[in-house]
């Protein structure tokens, strides 16, 4: 009886109207939120560009920092950050992908593998300053790498490794089982299946996680300060064993100066940071695009 009432044409149409209204309200709220976000972002960016653009010239890009606003430059920090990104990715991606393959494909469902899962998940949530302190103890002091780019890159590698491992595992897990099955059925060994099926199929996702990691490496300051990256540096690092500074540290240094000019120079530094990020994003996206196109 009650069911007939609930399912009567009238009741259905009333409920449908209510749902449509709810949908409209939701769309309006969602649109307003989007506008708010966009507005803030544009405000931020435009203020940065308005302040910074006039300081951004070749002299700024190629000079070391200086006490005088018109002479100061960002070159050492730019080189330092570039080194850091390249080195960190070069260290963390192979190790992370290899660990993920091992954990996902070779370690089985043992208790150790499951507890490793939990540990890695938790490592991803540790504040970055802790990694910095760890890096200071292990790389700077124990391994005598000093306050070098290498020590910085190793520290940042530790920082992004959990994320790379976790997302690579997810990517590997998402490979359709049918593809593995047919690979084995065609006579592939486990390694061949990983090499020719699992990795190509999941490479797109792995590349995505690497791009996100690059963003993280560019943005991190705390662990670098902890391992003793310099905040004022005149010389440009020539090898991975040299001391260095990074863009975020340089920007922070400028911001903390009293003169108004340096606030604007910091904005110019932010523009450089964004450009560097855009550059690596573009490379990452190109790699991801190629990875999506399965070859051999």
């Amino acid at each position: 009886m009650a069911k007939e009432v609930i399912l009567s044409a009238k009741a259905i149409s009333i409920r449908a109207k209510r749902r449509k209204l709810a949908e409209k309200v939701f769309v309006v709220i969602a649109f307003i939120s989007l506008l708010a976000v966009l507005f803030t972002l544009i405000q931020l960016l435009s203020s940065v560009f308005v302040k910074g653009l006039k300081w951004l010239d070749l002299q700024f890009l190629t000079s070391p920092p200086s006490r005088f606003p018109e002479k100061t430059g960002i070159y050492p920090a730019l080189i330092g950050s570039t080194w850091l990104i390249v080195l960190t990715i070069a260290i963390a991606v192979p190790i992370g992908v290899a660990s993920a393959i091992f954990l996902e494909e070779y370690s089985g469902k043992s208790r150790i593998s499951r507890s490793l899962d939990i540990i890695i998940g938790n490592l991803a949530g540790i504040p970055s300053i802790i990694y910095g302190i760890f890096g200071l103890a292990i790389f700077v002091r124990y391994l005598h790498l000093g306050r070098s780019i290498l020590a910085g890159a190793l520290t940042l590698s530790l920082l992004i490794l959990p994320v790379i491992i976790i997302s690579t595992r997810e990517a590997i897990r998402a490979v359709p089982r049918g593809l593995r099955e047919i690979s084995y059925a065609l006579g592939a060994t486990k390694w061949q299946t990983i090499r020719y099926v699992v990795l190509p199929v999941s490479s797109r996702w792995i590349a995505t996680s690497v791009i996100l990691s690059i963003a993280r490496v560019i943005g991190e300051t705390a662990p670098l300060i902890a391992i003793g990256a310099l905040s004022f540096i005149m010389t440009t690092p020539r090898s991975v064993f040299d001391p260095f500074t990074a863009l975020t540290i340089q920007i922070y240094t400028w911001l903390s100066k009293p003169q108004q000019d340096f606030k604007e120079i910091a904005a110019a530094g932010i523009i450089v940071l964004l450009l560097l990020f855009g550059f690596f994003m573009a490379i990452g996206s190109a790699v991801r695009y190629r990875a999506g196109k399965f070859k051999e």
Binding site: P176, R177, G178, L179, R180, E181, I182, S183, Y184, A185, L186, G187, A188, T189, Q192, Y196, V197, P200, V201, F294, K295, E296
Partner: protein
Amino acid sequence: MNVVEFKKPDSENKVVEFVGFGVSISGKQIFEGVSFPVYKNCITAIMGPSGSGKTTLLRSINRLLDEFCDVKYSGKLLFEGRDVINDGVDKTILRARIGMVFQRPNPFPGSIFDNVVYGLRLHGVRDKKLLEEVCIESLKKVGLYREVKNRLHRPAYDLSGGQQQRLCIARSLAVNPHVVLLDEPTSSLDPTSSAVIEELLTHLKKECTIIIVTHNLQQAGRISDYVAFLYPNEDLVSHLIEFGQTREVFFNPKESLTESYIAGKSG
């Protein structure tokens, strides 16, 4: 029903033979005591209700079960005279001799060409010309070459479902297998594509031996030379109820279970 030409049973020509064969997965017995031969250049159909272990039986022939579950075998499974369970046969070599096609077309996300030559590349063939030759030859065998010859290097995903399934058959043929295993290869396809594949299989058996799992009795009747009928008992452990020439089993079944299954299904 139009039954294909019948081939004389020839005991010398057993490519695969199950002898008191049983499989248990994670401690659960799926089937046991299964004994029947698979004759060379014949199509042998495996039939039975859902869950009777047809797929499991098929996947034990190339030991594919081993890769994905905790499996225990009992009895013997002879492939070309060697017991692949107990004689320490190299699984990679075994699988190079046994092609396999699944229920759903499952091409790799690469080009048509890459898909067909996957098996060859696995076995170390790098010679471009040879790969190309085999690719064309395999595609011709499944009647796909004419349709795809201008886009061998385009993604296999662009093909229709029926074409993809034929591509998958071509992929398994590229290494010249002695046996091809097909698990309900047409159940996700439309009648026309299914008919194309059935036709193809009846040609294919001239060069290799075919074992096909099918739910479709008409299909089994049309294309198979022999049928094996599995049926679970009250403990859900399957046994071989009947094996014989398709015509015999269909029109003159010895077991009442077979008779009612065939009647129930086709009636």
